[in-house]
Symmetry: C2
Subunit: 218 residues, 2 copies
């Protein structure tokens, strides 16, 4: 039996960035790259790169480095990008519509199968490839289409209720844009995109530089 060595969250967070740089290298026509070269491009240590990749077994070769395309595909597979992922949008406001319209996701295999909103005036309106439907059709469609991911772009109060509804379905994961921590069973994965939090961090950086400057002036 294989040792279930847990991969740390830090490593996983770095994978999409590697993937992006490898895509760029492919586009440039580069065939091979060493951890040193890559580290210089990405401004991280070569040691970290090698360590990260080694979490999943060795992808490189001594004296040669890494084959760009091979490494790219392997990381893509680790990230589950080799299979299609079905999604539904819940909350067809500005942000939701922007996400559905964002074609890059589709290119990576993330496909919206439907959109839902509670506002009757939106029913039937088309966003991207899909039509906006009333919320009472949500669970039925999820089960019927075996939807994997729910993209949640509703106000925080609604988000809590919807999370409870989703808990009773076959949904695997929630991509949560609402400013709350969702109460869902363990089997459902949640990835939060808290835009306010992100903006506050930026604000912190600005403030902390101001403060440093001020102290230097003393």
């Amino acid at each position: 039996m294989l040792e279930e060595k847990e991969i740390s969250q830090a490593v996983i967070s770095r994978l999409p960035r590697y993937y992006r740089y490898l895509q760029d290298l492919i586009d440039e026509g580069t065939e091979r790259i060493s951890s040193k070269e890559l580290s210089e491009r990405m401004h991280v240590t070569a040691s970290q790169i090698r360590q990260d990749f080694n979490n999943f077994g060795g992808f490189g070769q001594q004296g040669y480095g890494y084959n760009v395309r091979y490494l790219h595909d392997e990381i893509g597979q680790i990230l589950g990008l080799d299979q299609e992922h079905s999604m539904v949008l819940i909350g067809a406001g500005n942000l939701g519509q922007a996400l559905v319209g964002y074609m890059n996701f589709k290119r990576r295999g993330f496909v919206f199968k439907a959109a839902f909103d509670c506002k009757p005036e939106l029913y039937g309106k088309k966003v991207g490839q899909v039509v906006i439907r009333p919320m009472n059709e949500l669970t039925g469609l999820i089960e019927q289409e075996k939807i994997e991911i729910a993209v949640l772009t509703v106000p925080k109060t609604a988000a809590m209720d919807i999370a409870k509804v989703l808990s009773g379905t076959c949904i695997r994961a929630i991509w949560n844009f609402a400013h709350v921590d969702l109460p869902v069973p363990e089997r459902i994965q949640v990835e939060n995109v808290h835009l306010s939090d992100s903006l506050m961090k930026l604000s912190y950086q600005i403030r902390s530089i101001d403060q440093a400057d001020q102290e230097k002036a003393d």
Copy 2:
């Protein structure tokens, strides 16, 4: 002279979440809270909470705990939320328009002063409170209005060029939604919101659970 003890990124990332929970407590009318109670709500250790707050000096009192409103305001100040932040939108597509329309930012003091796009057909169109202008007015307006934050919602190729332009202005920070790492001087802070990366992490979680299940079945 004060010891410039660098606050770790991990701590800063947690501050907005504390802030959010404290806001909720205020809304509930709770006056005081102990690290233990808060830890149970937030599903983190009490030790971490105390440690985090102590990075900025003691906000609590032995035997009493923390005064909710006081702590909330202190963290708000640390995050720079006690002052207004001026922003410009660069790239008035779906996502950009959604962000400008998002009123929660304004409530926290983040105010859009202008929006820019390269598409002539958008010039003059109103999004939220502001009018979309041509890109050649960008640097002028930033300098004139002493804009702090540029919100970048343009395709990746455009993003690189615009980052270079911004480097020559008084802009303090870039909130970057493009899928690239921006080349900017050190004095400009960058906060990335890489939506694809976030979605890939979610995809990873799904995949890794599938794999675990499969191995268990063996």
